[in-house]
């Protein structure tokens, strides 16, 4: 992960948030679409807000595809949700709207989740396919470091001891 790749992920976040908010603003102006008049959805595209929203979502799509070419889906997706955090912060600090405690909690959860992901590897490597074994390496990095703390012979000795009791 280098600077350019983080820039692409930032693009995913910003374009998704901006595009979604333009679309929802536009759909509010267009109003309800009835099942009996499906063509109403097509005409919705004529609304300038919706048109700009679609352009922004195309930009989102390009950055999203780029990110997916070098990172896992489960790594890239949380970046899109950071957009909600961005929208809430814009609402609070630029538009001076009230942000409820529940929303601050939501911001904290999303930020925490994204932090969790960002701390891990971006792309799954498939050692099982290349090496054909190594189930022990399937443990997360946290678990394997815990195992390393034990003295080499300790777990083995404990195992044989309990075996002898049986």
């Amino acid at each position: 992960m280098n600077f350019r790749k983080y820039l692409v992920l930032a693009g995913v976040t910003v374009f998704a948030a901006a595009g979604d908010s333009m679309l929802s603003h536009g759909m509010k102006q267009v109003g309800g679409v009835s099942v009996h008049h499906l063509q109403g959805v097509i005409f919705a595209v004529a609304n300038p807000w919706i048109a700009i929203g679609i352009l922004l979502l195309l930009a989102f799509f390009a950055t999203y595809m780029t990110a997916l070419s070098w990172a896992d889906l489960t790594y890239v997706l949380p970046a899109t949700s950071l957009g909600y955090v961005l929208l809430a912060l814009v609402a609070r600090f630029l538009l001076h709207e009230h942000v409820s405690p529940m929303r601050w909690l939501g911001i904290a959860l999303i930020t925490g989740g994204v932090g969790f992901i960002a701390g891990g590897p971006a792309l799954t490597e498939h050692p099982a396919i290349e090496a054909g074994h190594v189930p022990a390496q399937d443990l997360s990095s946290g678990n394997s470091s815990q195992i390393d703390v034990l003295p080499k012979g300790a777990s083995h000795a404990a195992h044989t001891h309990s075996g002898a009791e049986l």
Binding site: R4, S24, V33, L73, I110
Partner: protein
Amino acid sequence: MKTLYTWCAILVIVFASVVGDVLLAHAMRQVGDVGALWRRSGLVAVIRRTLGNPNFLFGVMAMAVAFFSLLFALSWGDVSLVAPAAASLTFIGNAVAAKIFLHERVDRRRWIAAGLVAGGVALLAG
């Protein structure tokens, strides 16, 4: 009746986006690192290779279905219901689908993150 329509549309959005995301991710894995390909053979090669990938085209179709269902759902229901419900359910669906179909290693770290983000999205947009 509108509530039923809205939830049906939400389920269609979730299903179509999960199918679309998995197909697109698979396609881009086949295309390879876009940045490296661009430097090596130029932007035209990147676009041609991406658009020529059948998984990409099916993925885009699924995304189009998701997009129009979103437009319907937004016109029937509140954004504050549709957006968080669809987004957080898509999250969980994608984590499961990425593990099964893309063989991504969705370890404990990523499950926790998917849960946190899904919960956070539901709270934030709700």
